[in-house]
């Protein structure tokens, strides 16, 4: 199937992008930086084609559904949104140095996805809903923004540490990174993009659950973990309003928030579903 081939190619392109982003940070060459962004864009283009192809092929199989409904497809879509949203934010906030910390995600996620069965299955009745697309897309774009914020916060911690040790070091590696206050601000702005989207994702999920099963909230592990993620970022937003909570503590909350995000997305299915009967991908 063409879509599998294209997905396979995208793994290589993402790998290439990751290597280039890390080299850009190591060698501080503008050329490498441009190449890194371009190959990330290349990965997005190939994967867009793969997703489109998969959608089209599902129609050819007489199934006809958006490619968002099993673990393989959701991983692929997750990698795609992270790469795309990262590129958008890289342009908007001029943060190419963050790429070294974000670019590994599309590659690792796609590599992991390729270990999962990827045949196109028809949908069970509960998944046949237009709310599915609204729910999955908003959640994942939100998660992708959090991934970028994670990279920025990580870089913040490195940079703030170096600024403390040696306040002035013109021309050094550290000088190459954005200032810590700029990173702090961008970390906030990316969360300010992710938080409304996650909120919409949770609300559309609740609405869908209500239409399908007659309960908008049943405290199942997936729902509860999405609430945990939401609470952590809500705490982050309020912590930043209080003076003294910007900077390091905010960065740590942002990293904790992304850890919870990854757990909400993968951990719940992989770890908790071992204990519980539910799970599955959505």
């Amino acid at each position: 199937m063409t879509n599998s081939l294209l997905f396979g190619i995208s793994i290589f392109v993402y790998f290439f992008a990751m290597v280039l982003y890390v080299s850009y940070l190591a060698f501080r060459s503008e050329m490498l930086g441009k190449a890194a962004s371009l190959s990330m864009l290349g990965g997005v283009v190939v994967e867009t084609a793969a997703l489109g192809m998969r959608w089209y092929e599902s129609y050819q199989l007489g199934i006809g559904r958006a490619p968002l409904t099993n673990l393989y497809e959701s991983l692929a879509f997750f990698a795609w949104t992270i790469a795309l949203i990262y590129l958008v934010l890289e342009r908007k906030f001029k943060i190419r140095t963050v790429g070294a910390f974000v670019a590994p995600f599309p590659f690792l996620i796609m590599a992991y996805a390729s270990l999962n069965p990827n045949d196109i299955q028809p949908l069970v009745p509960a998944l046949k809903s237009n709310w599915l697309i609204a729910h999955v897309v908003t959640c994942f774009v939100g998660y992708a923004a959090f991934a970028v914020s994670f990279g920025v916060s990580f870089l913040y911690l490195l940079k703030a540490g170096s600024e403390k040790r040696s306040p002035k070091s013109a021309g050094s590696f550290w000088d190459f990174l954005p200032s810590s206050s700029a990173l702090d601000e961008i970390g906030y702005k990316t969360i300010a993009i992710g938080f409304p989207l996650l909120t919409i994702g949770i609300v559309t999920g609740a609405f869908w659950a209500n239409v399908a099963w007659g309960t908008y909230w049943s405290w199942d592990p997936k729902e509860t973990w999405s609430l945990i993620v939401w609470l952590i970022y809500a705490a982050y937003l309020h912590a930043r309003i209080t003076r003294g909570w910007r900077g390091k503590r905010a960065a740590i909350l942002s990293i904790a928030g992304f850890a919870a995000t990854i757990f909400c997305y993968l951990g719940v299915n992989l770890i908790l579903s071992g204990l519980h009967s539910y799970g599955g991908a959505s």
């Binding site: 009745p125 409304p196 909120t199 919409i200 239409v211 309960t215 973990w225 945990i228 609470l231 705490a235």
Partner: protein, 465 residues
């Protein structure tokens, strides 16, 4: 406590503790603490399975642990007193915060300064003075088209004593209300959830094809009567070739005083609502109605066929015994654990002696042969009565939950993506007779972006000639 009471200024010793409590409830530290606390507590309920029968917990944990967890409410933790207490504290916190900020926000929306004076100019960003060699009225005409670009409303114009004029533009004033909208929406969602659990119910009912019900059993085990009747006309399940379910649908009618008022085919993701009660396609099943059973000689010769209604004895041809179809299983477990498929349980009543119970498998006609004896039975035909399983909900709080959710999303969007922007422009003739323009602005949020906007406007104003 009303927001109009000047709590913060009450300095007498007697009210000091009130002030302290108030400060505690309005502090951002408490919010951060509560939000993180709720997040941490919630994890427990995702690791320990919730609301299972007690015996299941004994399979996983030591009896002592089960007793402890049960005492702590960890098996239904989202309804435990401590979790609810945290949520209530959050609600109090939000209510107090909203009152505390009420006046500040209202004050921020008032048009206070229409003119750049000394005090105001200290707080303005991009404060710039531009001088032109043109007469004031010419400048004013040219500037009018440029200034306030991006401000949709008309400016407030104030005539100055020195013959100059002051322009005041503003935009997004009401975005200041996003604070209320966001925070109150959470209280509205809480209110909806609480009223749903007090005044609503969740129930369940099975309806056989062609039958009508007017009551359901709630999760709490009560019988809930409906003001109308629900009839299941037909139920259908479709499957993919792989055996995975494709579609479940029930053709339902709502009857009032014996007359049909609504008819709708419901499916998963497409329920039916009538008078606040919603019916969701949830499960389905069958119950046998009548079985046709062959009586076969050991050598394979058919002796006769019994038509056995469920729960009624009939004579078996060729012998004096009687037979009753008494039980049914959708998935009969074979001795090797495999799924034997549909099975009918029959009782044989011999003329003398006690009755014998045996299972006949629809898909394995020769199964009964293993029993030995001269004759055996096999199922020729099985008529099933299908039923649809419906979840039935009444939730008067739901509308509040959705209203709150929409307000929450709107409030957050406004808080993040809009701000209250103000712009002041003053025009006068300076001592040397040149025209002088002073411009400055403020925004309550996202000042960097506003500064960029203003820079562009200032640039275009500088180019006026």
């Amino acid at each position: 406590m009303s927001a109009d009471e000047p709590v913060k200024t009450a300095k007498t010793d007697g009210t000091d503790w009130i002030e302290r409590i108030w400060n505690f409830f309005t502090s951002l530290k408490l919010v951060v603490f509560l939000l993180l606390m709720l997040a941490a507590l919630s994890i427990a309920g995702t690791v320990i399975e919730q609301n299972k029968p007690l015996q299941e917990y004994y399979r996983f944990y030591q009896p002592g642990t089960v007793a402890l967890f049960s005492r702590l409410g960890l098996f239904d933790m989202y309804h435990s007193w401590w979790f609810v207490a945290c949520l209530s504290l959050l609600a109090l916190n939000i209510a107090a915060c909203t009152m505390d900020r009420y006046r500040g926000i209202m004050a921020g929306m008032r048009k206070k300064n229409l003119v750049i004076d000394e005090k105001l100019s200290k707080s303005l960003q991009n404060l710039t003075t531009i001088r032109y060699a043109l007469p004031l009225d010419v400048v004013e005409k040219k500037v009018a088209a440029l200034a306030g670009k991006g401000f949709p409303g008309k400016p407030v114009v104030t005539q100055a004593e020195d013959g100059g004029r002051h322009y005041f533009f503003e935009k997004g004033k009401y975005s200041r209300l996003s604070f209320f909208v966001t925070h109150l929406s959470i209280l509205i969602i809480f209110l909806g959830a609480i009223s749903g659990s007090f005044f609503g119910y969740k129930g369940y009912v099975n309806i056989f094809e062609g039958e009508t019900v007017s009551q359901v059993e709630t999760r709490a085990g009560r019988i809930q009567y409906l003001d109308f009747q629900v009839k299941c006309n037909t139920f259908n399940a479709e499957f993919y070739p792989s055996g995975a379910p494709m579609d479940y649908r029930s053709d339902l009618s709502i009857l009032q005083n014996g007359k049909e008022v609504i008819r709708k085919t419901i499916r998963v993701n497409d329920p039916l609502t009538f008078e606040g009660v919603t019916f969701y396609q949830s499960s389905y099943g069958g119950q046998p109605d009548q079985a046709a059973i062959d009586v076969v000689n050991r050598d394979g010769a058919l002796i006769g066929t019994v038509t056995a209604p469920f729960g009624g004895k009939v004579d078996i041809p060729g012998v004096a015994d009687q037979m009753e179809a008494a039980d049914y299983q959708e998935h009969f477990p074979m001795s090797d654990g495999a799924d034997g498929g549909r099975a009918v349980g029959v009782n044989i009543y011999p003329v003398t002696g006690s009755p014998v119970g045996l299972w006949l498998l629809v898909n394995h006609p020769e199964y009964d042969k293993q029993r030995g004896g001269d004759t055996y039975f096999r199922v020729r035909d099985l008529k099933l009565k299908k039923y649809t399983g419906l979840q039935v909900n009444r939730d008067p709080g739901e509308i509040l939950v959705w209203l709150g959710s929409i307000l929450l999303i709107a409030g957050i969007m406004i808080a993040f993506f809009m701000s209250h922007k103000k712009l002041w422009i003053s025009l006068r003739t300076d001592k040397k007779g040149r025209s002088e323009l002073t411009i400055g602005g403020t925004a309550n949020k996202n000042r960097d972006a506003y500064a960029k906007e203003m820079e562009q406007m200032i640039q275009s104003l500088k180019e006026v000639s």
